[in-house]
């Protein structure tokens, strides 16, 4: 059943990603990105990372994408106009990206050819208890630094979005 679930949600993720890249309207792109994030959350559960899957749903597809949709609708962003100003990116971009994808896939397959396959239920240390234990013992300094970062981000966002600027 692992392979069936993986293939289903990997295909959904790739299809939603391509849809995000090809849609002209930002709202369609944002909804496709939510599709990618939800299917990635299912893959995290398959990998035994329940806490990260829940955080993915709550933080990414909940908070961040709602913020995106809010800004899109606040700015009344319509479909984008296609322009030909990208220059070299238009000619070199796609071949170079395909080379990047091919090379990285080759490196991955050769480097992990002897790795044992991923089996659902083999790794169970991804629950909130284990993650929280590790987070508040080994990683307590990065955790506190992150809280300061978020505080700065709140202050910066408030300052930037404030109407009475200059």
């Amino acid at each position: 059943m692992d392979l069936v679930l993986f293939l289903t949600f990997a295909l959904i993720a790739v299809a939603c990603g391509l849809n995000m890249a090809l849609q002209r309207h930002p709202v369609s792109s944002a909804l496709s990105l939510i599709g990618v994030m939800v299917s990635l959350a299912v893959l995290y559960v398959l990998l035994g990372a329940e806490f990260i899957a829940a955080a993915q749903l709550v933080v990414y597809s909940g908070a961040i994408m709602v913020l995106f949709l809010f800004v899109i609708m606040l700015l009344n962003a319509g479909a984008e106009k296609l322009t030909k100003k990208a220059g070299t990116a238009h000619f070199l971009g796609l071949p170079l990206l395909l080379i990047l994808l091919g090379l990285s896939s080759w490196v991955i397959t050769t480097a992990t050819s002897h790795a044992k396959p991923v089996k659902f239920g083999a790794f169970t240390a991804g629950g909130p208890r284990e993650v929280g234990w590790e987070l508040f013992t080994h990683y307590v300094l990065p955790f506190e630094v992150t809280s300061i970062l978020i505080l700065i981000a709140i202050a910066g966002a408030y300052r930037l979005a404030n109407k009475e600027m200059d």
């Binding site: 392979l3 993720a13 890249a21 990105l33 990372a49 990260i52 700015l75």
Partner: protein, 112 residues
């Protein structure tokens, strides 16, 4: 459905490389969107897609090595992405207020 595939198909486990290649594909889609799209909001969403692809790699290796550190790292990536989204969208709001456009071709004040 069950008649379409042999029963062994449903017992197969997923190779590690499949997850990593899926992550590479998503990252490439993100880079392509970043390069080719002209709307500043879509470009910003492409960055989120790339961060998600890297998160999948972290969680996959966390599973492979049997340690929880990779998940902690992807948790930090998530938190930083949330802060980055808040600040970035505030910047987009301010830019739109000053220039009344979202096309990135129009933001070329620093060019030349």
């Amino acid at each position: 459905m069950y008649s379409l595939f042999p029963p062994e198909f449903f017992q197969l486990s997923v190779p590690l490389a499949a997850y990593l290649i899926l992550s590479a594909i998503l990252f490439t889609i993100g880079v392509a969107t970043f390069l080719f799209r002209r709307s500043i909001i879509t470009v910003f969403m492409a960055i989120e897609l790339m961060l998600n692809a890297v998160n999948l790699t972290f969680v996959t290796f966390s599973n492979h090595f049997g340690k929880v550190d990779g998940q902690i790292f992807s948790f930090f990536v998530m938190v930083v992405a949330a802060a980055e989204a808040a600040v970035g969208l505030a910047i987009i709001l301010m830019v739109f207020r000053n220039r009344a456009t979202l096309q990135i071709d129009d933001f070329d004040t620093l060019k030349n």
